[in-house]
Symmetry: none
Subunit: 132 residues, 4 copies
């Protein structure tokens, strides 16, 4: 199963609503099952450098089927996955990315958020992911 | 002046409506004044390789403030801009990309479409650009 | 539907058998539905630079759901897709790549062959694709 | 001496058998004496992002003729090879990659495994390397 555009639009709308509610301009990226970009939005005033980060968080989550922040726990100096960020054209390994799971408990893609604090990014990602 | 998300959403909606009307699944990309990605959508069933092409058409248009197809006329063997496609991380120089102009006749960004024939891509790009 | 390893192994075996039969050492690449590498083999003595070409032919075919050589017919100077090879991290647009279609007429991936003449590459790709 | 396809196939089969025995879907990469990809396999269900990691582990091992994890011991903050991962298009410096040595004690290539825990990856790499 692959995320449909209809599902992706619902996820984006929910993430954007949450971002507006907490008052932070975000970059929002959704990738499909194959980790390819499906939908992307940079809100007005969102940090320019956070666009690539949002996309990479989404890809990172789908590449390893876990939250981007989980990777970061393992990739610290001395950690088992130290410097894994050099793979796959560059990973982002702090929170704000997570897989998208449909009603049948299948991974259908991933979402990545960047623009606020890492905690804010994660909050917006959760809001998006919960929309389906 | 920079394209706002509100404007970009209108442009995207108009492009998508035209794509649905002609029955071709398209990749739709909108970049801002700085040639940075603002909004992107891959319609269900759109060719996978056309996502990057749509983004590159939009960037190419804004990089040189002309339609992507205009560049292609100059980049042919023997032409004045022969193989300019090697610059800027890769250009796409056939039609389907064009600048976005607001009511004050200012360039505020660009749109790139890919997924159909070049003529179809261009038709959808025009529909999007005319929405503002 | 995505190509399984079992299917990919049958395709690779058929391609390799054909390559041995015509006496040319080939690079054989199979990508899945998402254009990600699934199986790759460089036969002993196969040209080193043809490894990347085989992979790019497979990706190119899946990116646009057509034979890699079909792209090349359109990407010539003056053609409608001139210099499309600059997209997607580099395409290869001569023959030797084709999509893989299963019994239900669904595209499940693509194969790319490189190492011989373009005609030989294509012959080996056909042999591989016909194995399923 | 260079790893032959026949040797590489034996190594791959042994690695795959071990991966199946421990029940983890792995990406398996074998590079030759020149650190160029010789044979690659992504098992069904193996993590998508681990394909590039398997290839980079194999290359890293052959680039420096030591286990990929040995590099990681030296590339930590304050270490003598700090951030060496930035070289050669990206290294992976945790375990799961090792050189392949033939009966005459010559290095003929390297293997890289990714898909499980680092300990599992290493276990599968050892199984592969011991097949010759």
């Amino acid at each position: 199963m692959n995320v449909t555009l209809n599902q992706a639009e619902k996820i984006l709308a929910a993430a954007k609503a949450k971002a507006e509610k907490i008052g932070v301009a975000m970059n929002i990226a959704i990738v499909d099952e194959g980790a390819n970009l499906k939908l992307f939005c940079r809100m007005d005033g969102a940090l320019l450098g956070c666009a690539d980060i949002a996309i990479k968080k989404a890809k990172t989550s789908r590449f390893f089927d876990m939250g981007s922040g989980e990777i970061g726990k393992l990739s610290q100096p001395g950690g088992s996955l130290y410097n894994i960020e050099h793979s796959n054209g560059g990973l982002i390994s702090f929170a704000g990315g997570m897989v998208l799971i449909n009603g049948d408990d299948k991974i259908i893609g991933a979402i990545g958020i960047s623009g606020g604090t890492v905690a804010q990014d994660e909050e917006v990602a959760v809001a998006g992911a919960n929309a389906i």
